[in-house]
């Protein structure tokens, strides 16, 4: 069994299993920079979450996979990822950490830890389960 680095809600079941290097996007400028670099399709995009609305251009320009650290599959981003058929794991947590996202009471360290662990890693998304989406080391 491949090494599962993180798990979260699977936004929709798909046999698509994109792989790429995780890129943490913190701001609209990061998204613009990535699109302009022409390397969008080489990365699995990591963002903080459901309130991250700046990701839309990346999805429309062909992002291959998304991981969020908060938010629900019913959120705006979840709806968009289904429309674009971009595999998406939401509210992912690290499998080697007890830290979990809780609405309204999650401290900064939770997000920092996930970003530090995943950013730059080569991963593959496994979105075949109807509930759990997995981020697997590739």
């Amino acid at each position: 069994m491949a090494d599962v680095l993180a798990e979260g809600y699977n936004v929709f079941d798909t046999k698509k299993s994109p792989s790429g290097t995780v890129k943490y996007l913190e701001s609209p400028a990061d998204v613009i920079g990535l699109i302009q670099s022409g390397k969008l399709a080489e990365h699995i995009l990591l963002v903080r979450g459901g309130t991250t609305t700046f990701l839309a251009p990346a999805l429309s320009m062909g992002a291959i996979g998304v991981i969020t650290m908060s938010g629900a599959p019913e959120s705006h981003l979840g709806i968009l990822s289904r429309e674009f058929q971009t595999p998406c794991v939401m509210t992912a947590h690290l499998t080697n950490s007890d830290s979990r996202y809780v609405v309204g009471s999650t401290d900064e360290a939770h997000f920092v830890e996930i970003a530090r662990e995943l950013d730059g890693k080569k991963v593959r998304l496994d979105c075949t389960d109807d509930e759990v989406g997995r981020v697997v080391a590739d």
């Binding site: 929709f12 309130t51 839309a56 019913e74 289904r82």
Partner: protein, 205 residues
């Protein structure tokens, strides 16, 4: 202190920030300006470091949001103090949650406890979702009208919703949730973001 924008520039940059990436014609379709005028405004916003124009499309820079927020605080102070608007906004939060659930039920159906993609072969199911959407959109009428009393531009949301619903009635079901068209979901999302900015509020998780 962040300087504020003059009105046509606010409208153009606001729509650009709502759409995240757009060309002049798409912005002109929503604001009361010609595509040429929008093009000119975009060039000036880009020169001011608030937008980036590349390959026929513009994107807002990180400086755009604080500038829009500062401007909204000034030009929409009246909206923020309008009790009628604020009461309607409370209702909107509930309606918004229902809209998100309804959109998801358009995209996915529950089969034996498992969510699977809606293949849209069940016209009766789709019909029910569409009528629920129509009712939810209808619940925004009061809020849109109250906002439009402060700034007429909000009335364009009513027109856009009506256009999308008319298209859906004509069988163009992409107008429910397509992110690349002026669908119910697109218009709703932009309205919600615009409302939050107008009121100076953050999006709830």
């Amino acid at each position: 202190m962040t300087t504020t924008l003059a009105k046509p520039d606010y409208d153009v940059l606001n729509v650009l920030a709502l759409k995240k990436m757009a060309g002049a014609p798409a912005i002109a379709a929503v604001v009361e300006l010609s595509p040429d005028d929008v093009e000119e405004r975009l060039a000036s916003l880009a020169a001011g470091g608030l937008a980036v124009v590349a390959g026929g499309a513009a994107l807002p820079t990180d400086e755009a949001e604080p500038r829009l927020a500062a401007t909204a605080a000034e030009i929409y102070a009246g909206v923020r103090g309008d009790d009628d608007v604020l009461a309607l906004v409370e209702q909107f939060e509930k309606t918004n949650a229902a809209l998100l659930t309804t959109m998801s039920s358009w995209q996915q159906v529950d089969v034996g406890g498992r969510k699977v993609a809606n293949d849209h072969t069940d016209a009766a199911y789709d019909g029910k979702v569409i009528s629920r959407l129509e009712r939810l959109v209808g619940r925004l009428d009061g809020l849109i009208a109250a906002l439009a009393r402060h700034d007429a531009r909000f009335a364009t949301y009513a027109t856009r919703f009506a256009t999308a619903l008319a298209g859906i009635d004509d069988g163009d079901h992409d107008l429910v949730s397509s992110p690349t068209r002026d669908s119910i979901h697109t218009v709703w999302f932009e309205f919600h973001e615009d409302l939050l900015r107008t009121l100076g509020r953050e999006r709830a998780e």
